[in-house]
C-alpha cells in the first residue's frame, strides 16, 4: 500500500517524537482551565484525554497546537522547546471537531493545501495528496467539494490533510463527536489503524469513554484542569485511582461498607482493596455492575444481598438489571441469556465477585 506512510522506516528525518508538557497552566479570567498539568506522550503513542466539558482536555490540545498561549509551563517536542513557537511553525497536524475543510476547495486541494504552503511542486503535491486519500480510502472523491460528501468522509479527508504534511504530532479534537453513532465506531477504528501504521505520536481528545478505551495506548482522565489518572485502558477501568475516574469511566455501584484488615466488608462480603493503604473505618466501595451476579431466589429468605428486581434494560448482548435491596439499589450487568427468566418483581439473590475495589470516603449515593 502506501509505503511512504510508514515514514519511520523510509524517512529518517521524520521519526516518532516524544511530547512533553510540563507545568502547563491557563486561566480565562477567574476560570482555571489548566492547573499545572504534566504529561508525557511517548514516541508513537496514542494518548486519549477523556473528561467532561470544561475539564481542560481541549485546552491542553490547543496549547500543544499553539492555538492558545499558556500562562506558565513548557512544551517540548522531540527534545525541542516549542513553547514560544507560533502555531504555523509547530509542524503538527490537527483534525477539528467540525467545519475542518475549506469549502471552496476540492478534497484534493484541501489535502494538498499544507504542501502548497510549503512550496512543494504541484506534481509532487498531487501525488502525495492521492497517497493520503488512498490511506483513508477516499481517492475516488478527490474532485468533490466538502459539501458533497458526508460528515464521516469529511473527517477522513481532514485526517488525510493533517497527515499529508508529515507532521511530528497528530492532534484530534473530538473528531467523531459530530457524527452518527455507526459512522463514529467505524471511523474510530480506522483512525487507530492509520495511526498505528504511520506510527505518529498522537493526542486524542474526547468526552466519550468508549472511544477513549477502544483506541488509546493510555487514557488520561481529566477533571478541573488536572489529570486524575493516566494509565492503559484496562487499568483505568479495573483499577481506577480516584472516585471520579471510577464513576466517569463505566458504571459503578456505590455501596456502604467498612474497611478493616486490608479488606472492605460490603453487605456481608469481604472484598479485597485496590489500595491497601486505605484507612480503616466506614467507607464507600465502588463495585462494577459486571462484578455483581444474580440468581433467582426461591428460598424466600432475606439477607443483605437479597432483593427485588425493579427494572431490566435490554442492551443486546448484555442486560442491566436494577435490584432493590431495601435500603439501596444495586445495578448488575449480565449476559442476556442469564437474565431471560427475570421479571420486574422477581426475587433474586446476588453475589459480588471478589475483584479488588476502590474505596472512597464520600457518602454512598443510590446507584443508577
Amino acid at each position: 500500500m502506501s509505503s511512504t506512510a510508514t515514514r519511520t522506516q523510509s524517512d529518517p528525518a521524520r521519526i516518532a517524537v516524544e511530547v512533553q508538557l510540563r507545568g502547563l497552566s491557563r486561566r480565562y479570567g477567574s476560570v482555571v482551565a489548566l492547573d499545572n498539568l504534566d504529561l508525557t506522550v511517548q514516541a508513537g503513542e496514542l494518548i486519549a484525554l477523556l473528561g467532561p466539558s470544561g475539564c481542560g482536555k481541549t485546552t491542553t490540545l490547543r496549547l500543544l497546537a499553539g492555538l492558545e498561549d499558556a500562562d506558565t509551563g513548557r512544551i517540548t517536542v522531540g527534545g525541542r522547546d516549542i513553547t514560544r513557537l507560533p502555531a504555523s511553525k509547530r509542524d503538527m497536524g490537527m483534525v477539528f471537531q467540525a467545519y475542518s475543510l475549506f469549502p471552496h476547495m476540492t478534497v484534493r486541494q484541501n489535502v494538498a493545501f499544507g504542501l502548497r504552503l510549503r512550496r512543494i511542486s504541484s506534481a509532487h503535491r498531487d501525488r502525495r495528496a492521492l497517497e493520503m486519500l488512498q490511506l483513508v480510502g477516499l481517492e475516488t472523491q478527490a474532485d468533490r467539494y466538502p459539501h458533497q460528501i458526508s460528515g464521516g468522509q469529511q473527517q477522513r479527508v481532514a485526517l488525510a490533510r493533517a497527515l499529508a504534511i508529515q507532521p511530528q504530532v497528530l492532534l484530534l479534537d473530538e473528531p467523531l463527536s459530530a457524527l452518527d453513532a455507526k459512522v463514529r465506531a467505524q471511523l474510530r477504528d480506522q483512525i487507530r489503524r492509520i495511526q498505528l501504521e504511520v506510527g505518529i505520536t498522537t493526542l486524542f481528545v474526547t468526552h466519550d469513554q468508549e472511544e477513549a478505551l477502544a483506541i488509546a495506548d493510555r487514557v488520561g482522565v481529566m477533571q478541573d484542569g488536572r489529570i486524575e489518572q493516566l494509565a492503559p485502558p484496562t487499568e483505568i477501568y479495573s483499577r481506577p485511582s480516584t472516585a471520579f475516574v471510577a464513576e466517569f469511566v463505566g458504571l459503578s455501584n456505590r455501596l456502604a461498607g467498612t474497611v478493616s484488615a486490608g479488606t472492605v466488608t460490603v453487605r456481608g462480603r469481604n472484598l479485597p482493596l485496590v489500595d491497601l493503604s486505605t484507612p480503616e473505618g466506614p467507607a464507600t466501595a465502588i463495585v462494577r455492575p459486571e462484578a455483581v451476579t444474580l440468581s433467582s431466589d426461591s428460598s424466600g429468605e432475606s439477607g443483605p444481598l437479597v432483593g427485588t428486581v425493579i427494572a431490566i434494560t435490554f442492551l443486546g448482548a448484555t442486560s442491566r438489571v436494577t435490584v432493590d435491596l431495601g435500603d439501596t439499589t444495586i445495578l448488575a450487568q449480565l449476559p442476556t441469556s442469564d437474565a431471560s427468566d427475570l421479571r420486574a418483581g422477581s426475587r433474586v439473590s446476588l453475589t459480588i465477585r471478589p475483584d479488588p475495589v476502590l474505596v472512597s470516603a464520600d457518602a454512598p449515593v443510590a446507584s443508577e
Binding site: L67, M92, M94, F102, F113, H147, A162, I165
Partner: protein, 288 residues
C-alpha cells in the same frame, strides 16, 4: 400543506353544505395591491417608453436618448455610482471587519449595527443639509470645501456617507460566516495570516464583496433626493433629468423622455441586481 391534509384529531368538522374557498384566495389582496401600485407603474414606464405621444409603437423615444446631453447624463451616473460604490465598498468592508472581529455581544457592535441601520436610510434632503453645514463652501463649520459643489467628488462624498453603512449591513454576515476553524486549520498547516487571506479568507469573501459592491452601485444609481437637494439647477445624472422631465416648470410635461430615461434606468438596475443575486447565491453555497 394543502387544504386536503387536514385530518387532525379534535379539529372542527367541516361545515356541512359549504365549500371553502381555495387557499390562494388569501393572496389576492396583496396581489391586487402590488399589481396596481408596483407592477402597473413599471409596466406603464416600459410601455410608454416605446409609445409615441400620439399613440403607436416607436423606438424613437429610445433613440432620442442618443444625444450628447443624455449620454453625458449616463456617463455622469456611471461615474458617480462607480466612485461611491467602490470607495464605499472598500471602506465599508474595513469597518465591517472591525465590527465582526469584536465580541458578538459587545456594545460597540450593537451600536454600529444600529447606526448602520439608521444611516443607510439617512439620505436625501437632510443628509445634503448636514454636509452643507459641515463643509459647505460658505457655511461649513468644519472647513469650507471649495470643491463641495464639484461633480462628481462633492456629491460622491455625500453618497459615501450612506454607502458605507449599507456595505456594513450587507457584508457583515459574510465575514461572520468565516468559520474560526478555517483560520486555525490554515495556521496549523503552516500558513501565516497573509496565507490565510490569500488562499482562504479572500476567495471565500470575494463573491460576497463583489455582490455587495453591485448593490451599492444600484443604490447610488437610484438615488434622487440627495443629489437634487445638493444641486437642483443642473442635471448631472439620469435621475435628476427624469425629475426635470416630470416637473417641467414651463408646464409641458415631457412624459416620453421621462419614460425613456426611466426605462434605461430599469435596464441598468436589473442588470446590476441580477449580478448581485447571482453572486449572493454563489456565496451562500459555501455557507452550508
Amino acid at each position: 400543506m394543502t387544504a386536503a391534509a387536514t385530518t387532525e384529531t379534535g379539529a372542527r368538522p367541516p361545515r356541512a353544505g359549504r365549500r371553502s374557498a381555495p387557499t390562494w384566495v388569501g393572496t389576492v389582496p396583496f396581489l391586487a395591491y402590488t399589481g396596481v401600485f408596483l407592477l402597473l407603474p413599471t409596466g406603464i414606464v416600459i410601455w410608454n417608453a416605446f409609445r409615441r405621444p400620439t399613440g403607436g409603437f416607436t423606438f424613437s423615444n429610445i433613440s432620442a436618448l442618443n444625444t450628447s446631453a443624455v449620454r453625458t447624463l449616463f456617463v455622469g451616473s456611471l461615474e458617480l455610482c462607480v466612485i461611491s460604490a467602490l470607495i464605499g465598498a472598500v471602506l465599508g468592508a474595513i469597518l465591517a471587519y472591525a465590527v465582526a472581529s469584536g465580541r458578538q455581544d459587545g456594545v460597540v457592535r450593537r451600536l454600529y449595527l444600529a447606526g448602520s441601520g439608521v444611516l443607510a436610510q439617512f439620505g436625501g434632503v437632510t443628509l445634503a443639509f448636514a454636509f452643507l453645514a459641515t463643509i459647505g463652501p460658505t457655511s461649513g463649520i468644519l472647513f469650507h470645501a471649495s470643491w463641495f459643489y464639484d461633480f462628481p467628488w462633492g456629491i460622491a462624498l455625500i453618497y459615501i456617507y450612506f454607502q458605507i453603512p449599507l456595505m456594513v449591513l450587507v457584508f457583515l454576515p459574510a465575514i461572520d460566516g468565516l468559520k474560526v476553524q478555517w483560520r486555525e486549520a490554515a495556521e496549523n498547516l503552516g500558513g501565516s495570516t497573509w496565507h490565510y487571506w490569500r488562499y482562504i479568507g479572500g476567495p471565500l469573501l470575494t463573491p460576497a464583496f463583489l455582490g455587495a459592491t453591485l448593490l451599492l452601485f444600484a443604490n447610488a444609481l437610484s438615488a434622487y433626493a440627495t443629489i437634487v437637494a445638493w444641486e437642483d439647477q443642473i442635471a448631472y445624472v439620469v435621475p435628476q433629468q427624469i425629475g426635470v422631465a416630470l416637473i417641467s416648470e414651463v408646464g409641458l410635461v415631457n412624459f416620453n423622455q421621462a419614460d425613456a430615461l426611466a426605462f434605461g434606468m430599469i435596464v441598468m438596475v436589473v442588470i446590476v441586481m441580477s449580478g448581485y443575486f447571482l453572486l449572493q447565491r454563489r456565496a451562500a453555497r459555501w455557507q452550508r
